[in-house]
């Protein structure tokens, strides 16, 4: 049973159709990499899956839960969106840490707010908050920022900020972790430390969708690679199939630019 099913997603911005009938599925514990040139629709696809954008048509299912179906208005209610998004963690290209909170504060904030909705929040407040803090510290240790917990984002390097953003997404224990070009805003040296964290997550069988331009990383870490071109899935398969034996002319063309460069 697939953890994620994306069926016939289309998305238009005005007259421009950015996604043209995209379908794929993802098994629990797998890593899928989405590659392709800029403007091919990779980021829009990711944003449609976690409902930051509303697909023009199509269906998204997590486990057996239909989180969006363009045919069924009951799945599109604004007030349910919030809870549905919690299936996904999302890591942005530009980090988007909250500047007024420390690294630890960034990791804790969402859980602290969600905790207020628990029925036993009033009676167990101290315990709950202590547990949230402990989890945040544990996550920051895990990503190698034990000594940076109380720093504000502007005091951290880009790579450190992105690692905090990953910890922040992990704190809510999402089913699927989405990365939108997580290293595109970083220089090569800092890229390595972020990729290392992501690699460790893959080894721990975290289900992930990674939009990336890091071809070597996609080849080494992903179980499945999707090559997108002009709003469609041009080719998909195992990394070996896509990188070493591409069938489509467009895929060969795209990859040759990377191997030459």
């Amino acid at each position: 049973m697939a953890i994620l099913n994306v069926e016939h997603i289309r998305k238009s911005f005005g007259p421009t159709e950015v996604l043209k009938d995209i379908s794929f599925s993802l098994e629990k514990g797998q890593v899928v990499s989405i590659i392709g040139s800029s403007g091919s629709g990779k980021t829009t696809l990711l944003r449609c899956i976690n409902l930051l954008e509303r697909p023009t048509s199509g269906k998204v299912m997590v486990n057996t839960d239909v989180i969006f179906d363009s045919e069924d208005p009951a799945t599109q209610r604004e007030q349910d969106l919030r809870k549905k998004r919690l299936h996904f963690g999302f890591v942005f290209q530009s980090f988007n840490l909250f500047p007024q909170y420390t690294a630890k504060g960034n990791v804790m904030l969402a859980r602290q707010l969600l905790a207020k909705e628990q029925p036993d929040y009033k009676t167990r407040k101290k315990e709950i908050l202590a547990e949230i803090e402990q989890q945040a510290e544990q996550l920051l240790v895990q990503i190698g920022l034990a000594d940076r917990m109380d720093n504000y984002p502007h005091q951290l390097s880009g790579g450190q900020q992105q690692r905090v953003a990953i910890a922040r997404a992990l704190a809510l224990q999402p089913d699927i972790l989405c990365f939108d070009e997580p290293t595109s805003a970083l220089d090569p040296e800092l890229t390595g430390e972020v990729l290392k964290v992501m690699k460790e997550l893959a080894e721990q069988k975290t289900t992930m969708i990674i939009v990336t331009h890091e071809m070597a990383f996609a080849r080494d870490v992903a179980n499945h690679v999707i090559f997108m071109d002009n709003g469609t899935i041009c080719e998909q398969g195992t990394p070996d199939q896509v990188f070493n034996h591409p069938q489509q002319e467009r895929t060969k063309q795209f990859l040759s630019r990377y191997t030459q460069g």
């Binding site: 976690n50 996904f88 963690g89 942005f92 530009s94 988007n96 840490l97 007024q100 984002p153 997404a169």
Partner: protein
């Protein structure tokens, strides 16, 4: 003919009373205009077109006409046109009318500053909140608001300092603020007449009060320096 030194205690007494009225108008305006400005800002940013157009129209009128005229209209219009002087007579009525005029006027200016502040917060901040399962109001109060405040402190400081001096406009409906009090000694009051220096002297009140405000607002700006 008394010397200035002899006139001083009488004049200061009078100016102090006037400046108290100035301060009252200043604080009441801030108290009213700071929240009202936020409501107007949300109105003009509303996705409901008629509301945003109406709000922008009102802001255009208020910012496009002199505060002095607005105050005259608000103070005299109900009595002259509807024969219903809602403000009542006397200093209380004048103070009420002046306060309402100032609050509306300043709220419109503040609203534009807020709008700039809110729109200046990167869209990614809101999206980061959304993907973390926050509600719209949690995103506003826990994420956007403080970043917006940080952005608007410098332009707000400017407006606040201007407001201190603008309170003098209430003189037009004879509110007994500090310049009114100073001017009284020209016409003649408490045995002093033809003295122009008390009016000049009122400048010190504004200067000192603005000095204090500048220091306080500077401190606030510093306080928010811990993040970027």
């Amino acid at each position: 003919m008394q010397t200035i030194m002899e006139q001083m205690p009488i004049v200061l007494n009078s100016l102090n009373a006037g400046f108290l009225q100035t301060l009252k108008l200043f604080f009441v305006t801030l108290l009213g205009a700071i929240p009202l400005g936020l409501i107007i800002a949300f109105g003009s940013m509303s996705r409901f077109k008629p509301l945003s157009l109406l709000t922008k129209f009102i802001v255009w009128i208020i910012r496009g006409t002199p505060l002095m005229i607005q105050m005259l209209i608000i103070y005299y219009f109900p009595g002259l046109v509807f024969n219903n002087p809602i403000w009542g007579g006397g200093e209380t009525g004048r103070f009420l009318a002046a306060s309402v005029s100032f609050i509306i006027n300043y709220a419109c200016y503040f609203s534009e500053i807020y709008r700039g502040g809110i729109q200046g917060v990167p869209k990614g901040q809101e999206e980061a909140g959304l993907v973390l399962g926050m509600t719209r109001s949690q995103i506003f109060f826990k994420v956007t608001l403080l970043q917006m405040i940080k952005r608007i402190v410098p332009p707000m400081s400017n407006e606040i300092i201007t407001l201190v001096k603008d309170t003098a406009l209430a003189r037009i409906i004879s509110l007994q603020e500090v310049i009114w009090a100073g001017q009284a000694f020209m016409k003649g009051s408490q045995g002093i007449s033809g003295a122009i220096w008390p009016m000049f002297f009122t400048a010190f009140y504004y200067l000192i009060f603005n000095g204090i405000l500048t220091v306080l607002l500077g401190r606030l700006e510093k306080k928010l320096d811990y993040f970027r």
